[in-house]
């Protein structure tokens, strides 16, 4: 895979399709896999792709990179890039998606990440070039529905207690935000202080406020790359709430983030047929 990736990137430089490429390389000293930006064809030989490439490089896409920028993407990363284009962060032609046939990554070095176990999109739907054998990719072993089923079946009071406990260790360090490819707001709502909507102290009510708003802002935007949860120093399972809302958004608005090009975020549009039943009555049996 490394060889064909490097050839592909050299080819893109040679044809003038990219001015820079975001990818992964091995750190020469620590051997850890790190993000890298190359601007010369000959540096393509430093690029790698294997199951240690956990980071979502869509986070590193900024408009001050030499554009057009090539970006090495797994399935989830590609959906994030696609969503950023949908949101107008980039014009389609400013980004060249180098879609890897991704069998899954292993953040712990041993087992596939949870996101990979339930992955339905091993190859980015946004793909200018594809690298690797796309015919030999694994089928999902788990589903999102299974992941969130335990919350669904709890009575309300138990649910509330579950989240209180889950958010309790949160220190409001915002690593989960910093790492998210879709958290691009110039001033995050939790940093706004006139008025101060969300207190930045670690206590039950502000923990809940932060995580509810964070989840709401990711409804229909989150691509289940799992970076937020991986980044959290306290092991807070905040991404579980994103998954809950992802299910709702798909069901209500028939919208799957970053899969189709074009279109709009479901909150920026409406259908005159949107039913009033959304606003009342029980909605989960």
């Amino acid at each position: 895979m490394n060889q064909s990736l490097r050839e592909t990137v050299k080819n893109l430089f040679a044809k003038g399709k990219v001015k820079s490429v975001l990818g992964y390389r091995e750190h020469p000293l620590s051997q850890a896999v790190v993000a890298t930006l190359i601007t010369r064809s000959e540096d393509a030989d430093t690029l790698i792709f294997d199951d240690r490439c956990v980071q979502n490089l869509a986070r590193a896409l900024t408009r001050d990179l030499p554009l057009p920028v090539g970006i090495v993407v797994k399935g989830c990363d590609g959906r994030a890039v696609s969503m950023r284009i949908t949101e107008g962060d980039f014009a389609r032609e400013q980004v060249v998606a180098i879609a890897m046939a991704c069998a899954g990554v292993k953040a712990d070095g041993k087992t596939f990440d949870e996101r990979c176990q339930r992955c339905e999109m091993h190859v980015s739907p946004l793909a200018d070039v594809t690298v690797g054998d796309v015919s030999a990719l694994p089928k999902p072993e788990k589903t999102r529905a299974e992941t969130i089923a335990k919350i669904k079946t709890m009575p309300p009071a138990e649910r509330f207690a579950f989240w209180q406990k889950a958010f309790e260790p949160c220190t409001h360090c915002y690593a989960c935000r910093e790492v998210c490819p879709l958290c691009n707001c110039a001033v995050c709502v939790t940093d706004q202080n006139a008025p101060r909507w969300i207190e930045q102290t670690a206590k039950p009510s502000s923990n809940l406020m932060w995580h509810m708003i964070r989840a709401f802002h990711h409804a229909g935007r989150c691509v289940d790359c799992g970076e937020c949860q991986r980044a959290c120093p306290e092991g807070v399972p905040m991404h579980l709430l994103d998954l809950c809302l992802a299910e709702d958004v798909e069901e209500l608005f028939d919208f799957k983030t970053g899969v189709k090009q074009g279109g709009k975020w479901p909150f920026l549009m409406f259908d005159p047929q949107d039913p009033d039943s959304w606003l009342g009555g029980p909605h989960r049996g």
Partner: protein, 143 residues
């Protein structure tokens, strides 16, 4: 709900229809439960989930949101965008274990003063029937 806790409701009413409807209820001298505290917003589409979560955090037991009927929005379609947001807000509350019955959404025109009074009264009872304080209320908020 400990002893005799009167539910406190925050109502976000749009300037053009629902607030005028509430006004009509007042000028018609209809009895509207005093549990509701009204916040006038330019349009139901202006309602940010933050407003609702903040009201709940600050101890409201329920939140009522009301805008113009579909097709009557002063800004043409703000109420239709609001519907999408509200639908997900209710579900988010449900996911975290806050009863979605604490949120009430209704279309209300400037001429529906009488319906306004009924809607408010019914909602207050709906919230009272939940039988407990809003769990999201922050510690220290007056009961």
């Amino acid at each position: 709900m400990s002893d005799h806790h009167e539910p406190r409701i925050v109502g976000f009413l749009c300037n053009w229809c629902s607030y005028a409807g509430a006004d009509l209820a007042g000028t018609s001298r209809l009895k509207v439960p005093a549990n509701l505290r009204v916040v006038r917003v330019p349009c139901s589409g202006r309602i940010n989930p933050l407003f609702i979560f903040k009201a709940l955090e600050e101890g409201a037991d329920g939140v009522m949101v009301s805008g113009c009927h579909p097709g009557d929005c002063h800004y043409i379609s703000g109420n239709r965008y609001a519907k999408r947001k509200l639908a997900v807000i209710r579900r988010l509350l449900d996911w975290v274990g806050v009863e979605p019955e604490r949120i009430h959404f209704t279309w209300l025109s400037a001429s529906e003063g009488a319906r306004y009074a009924v809607e408010v009264a019914e909602f207050v009872e709906q919230v009272r029937a939940l039988g407990r304080r809003n769990p999201m209320a922050r510690q220290g908020v007056a009961s």
